[in-house]
Structure formats: C-alpha cells, structure tokens
Symmetry: C2
Subunit: 428 residues, 2 copies
C-alpha cells in the first residue's frame, strides 16, 4: 500500500489560504541592495525603545518573585495587572474613567499582536459564506483572514473623512434587499490613520457608523471591529474619541489596539476591549491557539506603562513620525505637484505610517505593470494599491494607486525614495 | 429595527469550542490557600532562568543593530538564525548532522509555543468529519483543538512502551474496513514522557509506528505529529531517537518541540520540523494568525543557545526533575504501596513532569466524584484522568485514574501532597 508519492490532502480552510502578496515585496526589498522600501509597514528603527527595554528587564528580572512569574506561563486572556493598566489607559485616551467607558479588565483580552485578535474574532463569528463589510480600500492582512474564513466581503466607500455612512447604509440595505442580512457578521473599520490610506474617520461619523450597525442588528448583533492600531500615533489634529465611547452599553464594538506601533513590534502584544459576551468565546478559541501570548512581554509592558516610559515614548514617536510624514508629503509636492494636477493626489495623514497616492486614471501601479518594474529599477519599492482592495463581487478595484510608508525609511531616504518614484512615474 | 437584546450568532467552529476543564482546576487552586496543586502542568519556579535571561537581555539590548532588530517585527516563519541553531540542536539530539537528518532550516517554523503549531497543523489538514488518531489517553489541550476542528477521534491503546503498534494497525484496518481511510489526516503521538502518563514510546516501536502510518498513506499522506515537548527533560534511561530520524525522506513526520518546558514558558516559543510541503501552508495560515511570534523572545533564545546557557539549563533541570519525580514515586510507594496491591499502580517516568496513577476499578476520580472533593478537603488537587481521554465513539474512558504533576510543587509539597492524596484515597 505504501506510496511515497502520496500528497497531503489539505483542509478547505488551507485551500482558501493564499499567499500575502506583501511577502513578495519584502523579499524583493532584501534582494536588491540600495533599494529604498516605502512598502514595509515596519516601524522606525532608531526610535525603537531598546534602551528602555534593557533597563526594564534589568529591574523585572532582578532576583525575586516578579522575575519568576514573568518567566512562567501566563493566562489565556493575558496578565491581569496589565489588563487593568490597559483599561485605565484606554479610558484616559477617551478622557473617561473605566466606569464611564462601561468597561472592566475582564472585557480585555491580550493577544499576539492585534492581528491575532482580528483572526480570533473572525473565527468565532464567521462561517463560510457569511458577510463581512470593510472599507474600500482596507488592511490587506485582514483580507487574508477573511479569505481563509470563506467570508464574502462587501466594501464601503471612503472619502477624506473615512468610511461613508451613506454608503454603509446603502450596502446594508442592498444586502437586506437580497435577503442576506442574517449573513452579516462584522463591520470592520480602521478608523485612525487607516492602513492603507492614512485617513481618519471624522468625529461626526463615529456615532453615525455605530448607529447604522445597531439598526441593522435586528435578527442578531453585528460586531463593529474598531481597529485603532494607529490611534496613539496621532501627530496632528485633534484626539478623536473611539467609536467604542458611543457604544455605552458595551454591546457592538470591539476596540483593538496594540503595543507594536506605539512601542515595539518585537514584543508582539496587542489587545482588545470586547463586548462582554464575546470574551469567553474568544478566550476559549485562544486556548486552542496558544493558551496565552508571551507572558514575559506582558510583564515588561506593565512596567513600561506604570513608570510612564510607554507614554513618554509615544510622545517621542508622534513628533518623529510627524516630521517623517511631512518629509514625504513635501517631497511629493516638490516632485509630483505639477504632474497632472487634479488627477494626481495624495492624502495628508494626521498620524500613522502611510500616505496614499492616486495617479492619473489609466496608470497601472500593479506588480506586473510597467511602473512597478520601473520603480524597482529606479530603486524604490511601494505597495500596489490593488492589494488593498478586497474582492467585493459588486466592485472593481482601481489600479492607479499605491501605499507609501514613512515607517522605516530615514528622512533622507524618504526624500530620495519619492524622487526616484517621481522619476519612474514621469517616465510614462 | 434596533434591538439591544439581539445576540451574536457564533460560527460553527465557535459552537464546537468548549471550555477546557483544566481551567476550573486552576481557578480552584487559586481559591483555596494552602492547597497543594499536583494538577498544574506549570514548570518549577525556582529553576526558571531569570538571572540568565537578565544577563542575556543586557547584552542583546545594548546599543547596536541587534537591539533594534530584536525590537522590530520578525518574520512569519521565525528568526532565521534561531531556526539554524534549532536545526543543529535537533540533529545533535539525534546524534546526526542536519544533512543526515535530511533537514534544513527552511523546514522549521517557530510558533507561539508548540501548541500553536498543533493548532496550525490541524487546521491545514482537518475538515469537520475527518479522523485524527491519538493515544489513549492523550494531551487534553490538543483535545480542544480537535473538537474545534470538528475531527472524529479514534484512539490507540498504550502500554508501558507507549502507543501499541498492533492496536494502531487494528484501528486503521477498522477504519479502512469502514471505507473511511480517506478521512484519516493525522496520527498524534506524544512520544517522550507523555502528557498525561509519563510513558515513552520504546525504541523498537518508533520505526514500527512510522511504518504503519506510511503503509496506510496510500490515497493521501497521513501526517504523524511527533509531539516531543518533554523530550529534553529526560532524566533517566537512554536518549531515544526521534521518530523523525526514521522518516529519512522527510515526508511523514512533524517533529514538535518547545522552549517552554526545558527553558521558560514566559518566552512562549515552540517550533516544529515539518515535511517540506507542509511548511508553506502552515506559514500562510500563521500569516493570518499573527504574521510571526514574539521576535524578542527568539533573539534571546538564540543567544541562550549560542552561549551554551540553554544546554546547561536543560542539564540542571533534568537533575532537578529527576529528584522531584523520585520524591513523588517514593511517596506513592510509602503511602499507597500497600493499598490494594496489583490494582493500585503508577508509572515511573524517565522524564517530563507527570506520574499517572491508577486506582482500583470502581474508584471514581472524576470532578463530581467523592474522591475529588475529599482530596480538595485534604488540601491537594489532581487532574481527573477522564479529562485525558478523547471522545472515541468506540471506547469508554476509565474513571479510576489521575494525572499527578511534580512540575511546580516543591519537594516537601510533593511529599505532603501525596500523603494528603493517600489519606483521601484510603478514606473510602
């Protein structure tokens, strides 16, 4: 019976799980020395708080019970003291007390980055064929989760104020009209300095989006995932309240944040404040995944928060990324400001790591297009905009856009990278 | 349309995901001061290498590029330098070179503990209704993964030499006879100092088990998961070769190990050496989960391995756990040696953290039974054996067994805990 040629027979989930196109981009960046990557969503190297972490580990791991506790297994839902500190922090970001936010530390789950929580929330709610609603465009790693889950994705237009409530209403009404409202499980919004566009949901739209989700939650509750990964990296404009603050009964919104962007990705620690009745299902599934994310990271982060080191670092980063963002948008103005005015435009982020560039209609920014190759030849890498659009059966993705990140590139690299990009663009 | 009473509608996976009974036990342990827990699978506190980690972090995070790299995002499959070090380590454990093992660093994936890899491997292979074969009894956290995946579980008898090849053959022949061989995706074996029994698969049976899996892999390949989490904690007897060494073409065996048991659970880092054609599907799914486990932990572990600190620590642990295991089996002999001889027996582990105690037929060790309550009243906690049996539709789980761990309890607590347990047992 033996046959060394027999193949593994993969699950349906595995069959739906496809390569993230960004993987190719990262590999390309490593292969060509001198290439300036404006593609990677990594954070800035020089500002990574390694000195701070070193001092904190020195304290944490000094002989005593704390040291041993940090090296032992933690709990599935995460270190309780850190969850309390996070709760206070989240409430403070909204200018509230935890009581005013109607939240407790028991509503928080700590995960391996906020990505794991996106995955867990989707897995506990979405069966194949269920519908998830996202922005158009949206965060492409979540796109991978949705594909694996077998979700049908419907998308909602954005403008300079973020997701458009009128279009969300239109999409939901259309779904209801088709008799498929029972399939809608999640509305996903990256509402601060969105990945990939850098756009932020305006103050006025925050309760409006929630209100629509609530109104369409007749037969069952639709979860509104508020992905606030870039929230704390707000370097300009007002600090907007979370959508969660308007969900005063704590029923509809899962507010997801992370320590990766505002502190250090190497600790791989994210978290979410969840409607109470989602905590147990999420924790049970996480029990299967890993029964708890790295405990040592969590103990370190508690010290960083308690000593104000975390908060100080966030302030430093905001100044830093503000300068880098300005360098990028200034460079775009200087090099592409006169290129098909009105047809060439870019976002002016008030935070986060991204600028979204739109080129004249007919430009093909795709990986197999001439511009992408030309940009590589010039020595600059970007993320083709098409990767950021989910496969909505009712829509066709634009092909004339790109995501530019000022995360890792130095100031001089940002200027030089944009100059190279502009040369590539203008060569057509 | 609004209704604040609407519930979330959970996925089928969530509906299959149930509470781990061990959660209750852990909570019970915390609630009763003075309770000696022989239930927890945690590792020994005093030996946790916090001093070593402190010194290593001091080096790693000293100003320089290594510090920044460790604080940045890593890669989905894990830090390449650590994968190379692990490869050398795995080969050395089998007394081979990586070439002799027919393995490369590209065949290794680093995960959030080996638990995450159990979850990923199951998810890429198992659809609801597919069959997974485990030992009888087996590791109960993996049971949770199998329930969520919707797997049908068939179990194979063990004896003092571990999983019985003749029973594996019988089970597979029975499945084939029913025409269900196409559903068999995984054979799961915890082959060193098994959780929960402490039993080890004998030298002779290692190639025999693999041979059976190979012979039944006619229509598609069956994956043999070799869970070697406790392998390095071998404190007595010979170092047995991995089953993987007999899979010379690297096609059938996924060899899973971890840094949690032999070094520190707080780093939450495990890994697996996989058949080449499983690496990509696993990495793609892990891309959805978290696109990489905590990078800082991985950088620390590389230094611990390169400087021999890891290896030295493993030797220290082996001596330590050997002493604790002897304390437990000695205490069992002293307190239960005369209790229904022949009907009361326990395993004599050569490694790991567990002793498996069998009491006379008719004893009920279950959580709702009188013995469990009596043991709690005496001040000792154990894991009821019934939790360690998968729901095999063709079998009925024994109710007269328990798992005893010498992981966290001190020597005096082990002796006192067993004395309390013996009093509870003898009170009936």
């Amino acid at each position: 019976m033996a046959s060394h040629r027999a193949h593994f027979r993969f699950s349906q989930r595995a069959a739906r799980t496809t390569e993230q196109p960004i993987g190719y981009l990262m590999a390309a960046a490593l292969e060509q020395p001198g290439l300036i990557s404006l593609a990677a969503g990594l954070v800035d190297y020089p500002t990574l708080p390694s000195d701070e972490a070193r001092a904190l580990f020195d304290e944490l791991l000094a002989p005593g019970p704390d040291a041993k506790a940090a090296m032992q297994y933690g709990t599935t839902e995460g270190f309780a003291a850190l969850r309390h500190a996070i709760l206070d922090h989240l409430a403070a970001l909204d200018g509230l007390t935890p009581e005013q936010l109607n939240a407790s530390a028991d509503d928080l789950v700590i995960t391996t980055g906020s990505q794991q929580l996106l995955c867990l929330l989707t897995d506990v709610l979405v069966d194949p064929g269920d519908i998830v609603i996202t922005e158009w465009p949206s965060y492409f790693v979540y796109t991978g989760v949705l594909r694996t889950a077998g979700a049908t994705v419907r998308c909602v237009d954005m403008d300079d104020q973020g997701m458009r409530p009128d279009d969300l209403e239109r999409v939901l009404a259309d779904i209801a009209h088709r008799g498929e409202l029972t399939k809608v499980k999640i509305v996903y919004v990256c509402d601060y300095h969105q990945n990939p566009t850098g756009l932020t949901l305006s103050r006025e739209r925050r309760p409006a989006i929630l209100d629509i989700v609530r109104r369409y939650s007749a037969e069952h509750r639709i979860l509104l995932i508020e992905d606030a990964a870039y929230r704390e990296l707000t370097f300009a404009g007002p600090q907007l309240p979370s959508i969660r603050t308007f969900d005063t009964t704590n029923e509809y919104v899962a507010l997801l944040q992370t320590f990766s962007k505002p502190f250090a990705p190497g600790l791989k620690t994210g978290y979410g404040l969840l409607p109470r009745d989602l905590v147990e299902p999420v924790a049970l599934l996480k029990g299967n995944h890993d029964f708890g994310s790295a405990n040592l990271s969590q103990h370190l982060l508690l010290r960083a928060m308690r000593q104000g080191i975390y908060q100080r670092h966030v302030r430093l980063l905001c100044g830093h990324y503000g300068t880098k963002a300005a360098a990028m948008t200034d460079a775009l103005r200087d090099t592409l400001g006169d290129y098909h005015p009105g047809q060439t435009r870019w976002t002016m982020p008030a935070g986060g790591l991204y600028v979204w560039l739109t080129l004249p209609e007919g430009t093909d920014t795709g990986r197999s297009g001439a511009l992408f190759s030309r940009a590589i030849a010039e020595g600059v890498l970007y993320v083709p905009g098409e990767y950021c659009y989910n496969a909505d059966p009712t829509r066709r993705a634009p092909t004339n856009q790109m995501r530019l990140s000022f995360g890792t590139a130095r100031l001089d690299e940002i200027r030089e990278g944009i100059a190279r990009l502009a040369r590539a663009v203008k060569s057509f």
